[in-house]
Amino acid sequence: MSSPFKQRSVLPGFGLTLGFTLVYLSLIVLIPLAGLLLKTATLSWDEFFGTLTSPRVLASFRLTFGAALIAALVNAVFGLLVAWVLVRYSFPGKRIADALVDLPFALPTAVAGITLAGLYSPNGWIGRFLDPVGIKVAYTPLGIMVALVFIGLPFVVRTVQPVLEDLDKELEEAATCLGATRLQVFVRVIFPAVLPALLTGFALAYARAIGEYGSVVFIAGNMPMISEITPLLIITKLEQYDYAGATAIATGMLLISFMILLTINLIQRWNRRHIEP
């Protein structure tokens, strides 16, 4: 007899492991997050909505979501390119390049932050070439995008790469035999197959970029209304003991992050249905 909750199995340890999982998940993640939502519920509508629609917060939303979007798009294009080159071509140093792609995951964000700020400042290694032609990167929104491109780089590569590796060469051969040019094969056969993975990687990079703090604050300049990202604004409110304001902004961000998470899940479900019919 299997219960309506769990199917019968001979393996032991279900109660113990699931119980521990639920308790630990609740203590570390769910209860603290619920605390944030409860705190939000104690705010008046004016406190909540007024905070979220104040010019400074709106400006930070525009900057954060806009810069994250552009960075994620750059990552989608170059991530696909890097994944393609790593899977399809061979060149010296390929294994090192492949391993290095994960550097943004492994390098602490504060280190990335001070490094990028140093590189792109007007007298830095890269900034000194851009400054004379009038391109200012450090301490401008452009600097924020550079940091977010760095942070999001592995997501698209690592989601697209396995799909490209598993791609059936026979499909390409068939298309070629039927007279398709190489470009047609890419656009009609290869691209549709990697599109779900590309979208997933894009969404993951976007979600990460929205919440990113450490790599951005050093290069951003942090001018209210111009180069102040939302996570920094939350910290500023906390430091001013404006807990209501910080809570309202945090909840607003959290809701948007959840919507992105939901989108990723939908893409993956759609993806799975296409791969395993």
Binding site: F5, K6, S9, L11, G13, F14, T17, L18, T21, Y24, L25, I28, V29, P32, L33, F78, L81, V82, W84, V85, Y89, A97, A99, L100, V101, D102, L103, F105, A106, L107, P108, T109, A110, V111, G113, I114, T115, G118, L119, W125, I126, F150, L153, K169, E173, T176, A207, G211, E212, G214, F218, L232, I235, Y243, T247, A250, L254, S257, F258, L261
Partner: protein
């Protein structure tokens, strides 16, 4: 491994790959992008760290505040990694070996900390344990400090690194199914023996992979820890926070010297990760269960 298909491709049809010029152009573009965004920053850290000579470098690292930061970073990792490891094993056992209602929701919830901004991960613990938080008055009455103290830093680190091991192990154990475990049990092994002798050897590299990533993030976390730390020098500064303080004091050589320690950690992580990945790939049947079954 890809040799047979490659030779076949080359022999059968030239148009199955791009013209040489296109291949070189694409490779050049990709490597240029990687150099600009990965290689140059990495080199920059070490050049800046040693810009004022080795003695300045060494002084910045053995300075008491820096050593205190190293110690706190190690403590935070030494607590959060084992806890999340135990959790990851328990969660993946429950999820991969049994069918129950709400499983998809549970997997989504485990991934939650990845989609939450580190700053929000910090603020939720301030709202719980801070002076104005839900438990603040009670903690103050019992003289327990969590926020702006070590426990807060550990808690924030646990939250941030929560999914790493679980998310590596769940798909791996799901792909392996549970026939081997069932056979062991039928042959008279206890549950614990089955786990240790059958399940664990099958997933050990995946587990190690999760631990490596978990550890890198635990030692490198900045945003969440920064919110709950209070930045008390020598007491509540982890290595990344120490880097920030030095940088904001315009002590760039020292900031990059300490940062180079974290960059070395990152390089070590990448190397360990690459080795473990090749181990996973060379254990046939371990990860390919899905496609074979």
């Amino acid at each position: 491994m890809s040799d047979p298909s490659e030779t076949f491709t080359v022999k059968s049809s030239r148009s199955l790959t791009e013209p040489r010029a296109v291949r070189w152009l694409l490779t050049g573009l990709a490597l240029g992008f990687l150099t600009l965004f990965l290689v140059i920053p990495l080199v920059f850290v070490f050049v800046q760290a040693l810009a004022k000579g080795f003695s300045t470098y060494w002084t910045a690292i053995i300075e008491p505040d820096a050593l205190a930061a190293v110690r706190l970073t190690l403590i935070a990792a030494a607590i959060s990694v084992p806890l999340n490891l135990v959790f990851g094993v328990a969660a993946s056992w429950a999820i991969a070996k049994f069918n129950f209602r709400g499983k998809a929701l549970l997997i989504t919830l485990i991934d939650l900390p990845f989609s939450v901004s580190p700053v929000i991960a910090g603020i939720i613990f301030i709202l719980l344990f801070g002076r104005q938080g839900w438990l603040g008055p009670w903690l103050a009455a019992h003289d327990i400090k969590i926020i702006f103290a070590v426990p807060g830093i550990v808690l924030a680190t646990i939250f941030i690194t929560f999914p790493f091991v679980a998310r590596e192990l769940i798909p791996l154990m799901q792909a392996q199914g549970s026939e081997e475990e069932e056979a062991a049990l039928v042959l008279g092994a206890t549950g614990w023996q089955t786990f240790r002798r059958v399940t664990l050897p099958n997933v050990i590299w995946g587990l190690l992979y999760g631990v490596i990533l978990c550890n890198a993030r635990a030692m490198g976390e900045f945003g969440a820890v920064s919110v709950v730390s209070g930045h008390i020098r020598g007491l509540t500064n982890t290595l990344p926070l120490h880097v920030e303080i030095l940088y904001n004091e315009y002590n760039f050589a020292a900031a990059f010297a300490v940062a180079s320690l974290l960059a070395l950690l990152a390089l070590f992580t990448l190397a360990a990760k690459t080795i473990v990945e090749s181990k996973i790939r060379h254990h046939p049947g371990k990860t390919t269960g899905k496609t074979e079954g």
